[in-house]
Chain length 275, copies 4
């Protein structure tokens, strides 16, 4: 299978770039399944039903979330009817929506997506490792699931890398989100899991992690807030990861970063010979 | 000028890779000035005089540090006689050593290097922005300094990116360290400063940020320590950033990531046409 | 019933004061059940079997723990045979020992003790609120348990106070530990639960939370470690809380702080008319 | 001299209790100088000019602040004309207002008040120890200042206690604020400085640190915000510390907690024989 995962969509700039690119990427990369992290798609904070629908219509199979999943309170409601929107699985029991799901990819194949929140330097939820363990056991790769994707929404590189190894041999892809900066460490782990510490945001990189520079800079230097954060609205870079899996095992045979448009160095699997 | 910055050297694997690669990189890339972050070069924790000398002898002009600068207590002593070793500039006044220095590059040109520690999610030192402001004012780019490099040793991508913009137009390069994962966001900021959120470590990437996987995984899953962290000893990737500056202004005209050896996708300026 | 809870015992000074005071306190206050938090009883870090036995022999019915429970690794072993030693209940499943237990008090009455770790500003375990909910449901006050004590080992006053209200009407006493400073807010909450934000340590208060002052001061001012923390060895104050419950409901009818010996203002229920 | 310090005033309940009690306390305790921490006096968040005036008119000589000093943005303006309002001294240079001041007490005596923010578990400002050192040197106790009061606004008990010892022999009183819970550790440190880890809030203690219980509890259990925090409006307890100093040295000869009104156990120097 050919899977693509796009990182945190930030604001209008990120959203328009993703919606514009998705149909083309699906076609060009001959994709079987696409995940987009949408936790910052509504003005930088959360996601609305309208925006979720827009991203799904453009070609995402599922949208994952993070610590900003509920910034737009309507998400607490529409997540109950929109099965293709996930929130982190380690929220307390009783939280609206789901944190993992078995989804149908092209050709009827089944993809397990698990969305989980890290705990280092973050407001803590329940154990992400135990949570992922439970979800992997419920739909084992190569058995119930034809592919398994884990979106590890976390701050610390150590916790993300540990999650990669924790799932190695049991997931097709473990990819981090939340830092809003793509990492350059795409690799196949020894057990056959594709891994990248952070997918990077889909947003304007002439910014502070997707937000206009002035207010973040002001806060860092004066330690006093003087207004709200606003998403930067320059040309966005669509950032993510592309993975090919072995149909027999569900493990990865290839992992490539994607960076399309905007200010960052461009890279696209199969279009350029190597990153 | 042609500058190279290599990120946190981790343990023997990272050290040997760096010492082996440095002479070749200096020659192949025709480098004028080289900085290496050495805070994890001694068994993953700190730096010894022997190791500092080894790295300098291999071709580094200066070694910078971070929150692990003092893990080997001898560094508190030899930093007083080794002017080419820096520690973060925002340590309390009275701390041994220096946090910034004007160094001589090839051809007698002067490079200001400032090493500073972030405060988000870290044990806090004094204001890194005010500290950098002071150092930039003392040796302005294009006036006193022919090039200015800021090593922003920090956890949060937001604080690092803010430092990039804070220095934009006043530094040749702002590069992050500490996360031990290279980012794929090398860019020229609007004012002419080269920027990359993290240089990445020089170490074995089949690990948890350079350490053997078992104990980090054990701690994340059991929350109980069962031993010390040990540096991973597989093939290391030498990670860093390459920058070309305009001789008239000291600003950057080109920035390229470097990833050499080990498991990560390889990239080298001038050898591959584009990343 | 008459219950007493003593806070974190720190080092030899705290241990000796507690072992010395316990028999007298049991007699003078006519106590039915005594809990002691022992997470710092062994040189300030963890607990050994010998020390646990000493505290139990002196008159504690149970010893609770915290984030330092495992600093002495032998605790991982002897906690399996010493049922009267608890560790926080929200450690991952599979952790040695237990986090809650139904213990026999004087006269055959049953006391549920739950030991739980907060998550704000701490290395995070699983949800302490969900954990306490589960334990309270398993042995409801006034039904299965004649008294319920919750040791909320936490940093933030907000999280501790929230736990108090969360348990109000369902526990006899919610008392905080970990800050090593007694709070002066003993009160009966509206639903009948006795509450004090922190029991305070049993240790020498001419110190930095029980440790000799020099090294903590050195670290705060220089940000460089220059040695290990050592417990302060001056006269200790035994700090804790005394509660009387209604035999019919198990709810509290009286709560009084205890501070005995050492430098702090002395207070003892029934000996002085009011605090 | 006879000094009184009252902790964080929270919302209307705290404000009314303080304004009501101040004239009486000044008279009954024959006070020479009174400080009130006002960072939460305006609806729980910040302080307005109207409220500051009200507290000063009621009998406070100075109002100190903390991390919430700027929650009401008008404070950035009126602090420039109201010399009797301080904010933490370790804000970046250029911050409106002052962090320390030499104030006139009854009889023309001079009191140095230093307001400083801790860095452990808080958004970090500059070194509070170096800041206090500088202020103490500028107006030494027993020389320039007849009394010195340090308001250490901090989260961690360790950092507060270290500040106490850091100032021991050089200040009349080091008192903590910010935790909103009074501690029961009032003591004279060996060098003659009065110390209490936290003054406690002036507010309603049937709350979560002064806020109505529902929303804090909701957030701790669901990890999802469902509204704003509102100050609790039940009977407030006025919490603080009373200190007597030696006129010759400025050091403390007596320190007593104050708790007046509301739910907490009452204590008042000279009115009750002992705490
Ligand atoms: Fe995000
Ligand atoms: Fe996030
Ligand atoms: Fe490092
Ligand atoms: Fe570091
Ligand atoms: Fe403790
Ligand atoms: Fe603790
Ligand atoms: Fe406050
Ligand atoms: Fe505060």
């Amino acid at each position: 299978m050919r899977l693509m995962f796009l990182g945190d969509v930030v604001g209008r700039a990120g959203r328009e770039a993703v919606v514009d690119a998705l149909p083309r990427l699906r076609a060009d990369l001959d994709l079987d399944f696409v995940v987009v992290n949408g936790e910052n798609s509504a003005g930088g904070f959360g996601i609305t039903e309208k925006i979720a629908t827009e991203i799904l219509d453009a070609g995402a199979d599922v949208i994952s979330g993070g610590n900003h999943s509920w910034d737009q309170r309507e998400a607490l409601v529409f997540i109950e009817r929109e099965q293709r929107l996930l929130r982190p699985a380690n929220y307390p029991s009783g939280t609206p929506g789901r944190g993992a799901g078995l989804f149908e990819a092209r050709g009827g194949r089944r993809v397990l997506l698990v969305n989980v929140l890290g705990r280092v330097f973050m407001d803590a939820l329940d154990d992400p490792f135990a949570t992922v363990e439970r979800e992997l056991a419920a739909a084992p790769l190569g058995d119930v699931a034809d592919a398994v994707i884990v979106d590890m929404h976390a701050e610390a590189t150590s916790e993300k890398m540990a999650m990669g190894h924790f799932c190695d041999g049991r997931a097709s892809l473990v990819v981090g989100t939340h830092s809003h900066i793509p990492t350059a460490d795409a690799q196949l782990l020894p057990g056959g899991t594709a891994y990248q510490t952070d997918a990077g945001m889909c947003g304007d990189y002439d910014s502070v992690i997707g937000m206009q520079k002035d207010e973040p800079l002001n806060r860092f230097t004066t330690k006093i807030s003087s207004g709200r954060f606003q998403p930067a609205d320059g040309d966005a870079t669509v950032c993510g990861v592309f993975v090919e899996t072995d149909d027999a095992t569900g493990l990865a045979t290839r992992v490539e970063p994607i960076r399309l448009g905007g200010r960052l160095k461009q890279t696209m699997p199969g279009l350029m010979a190597a990153e």
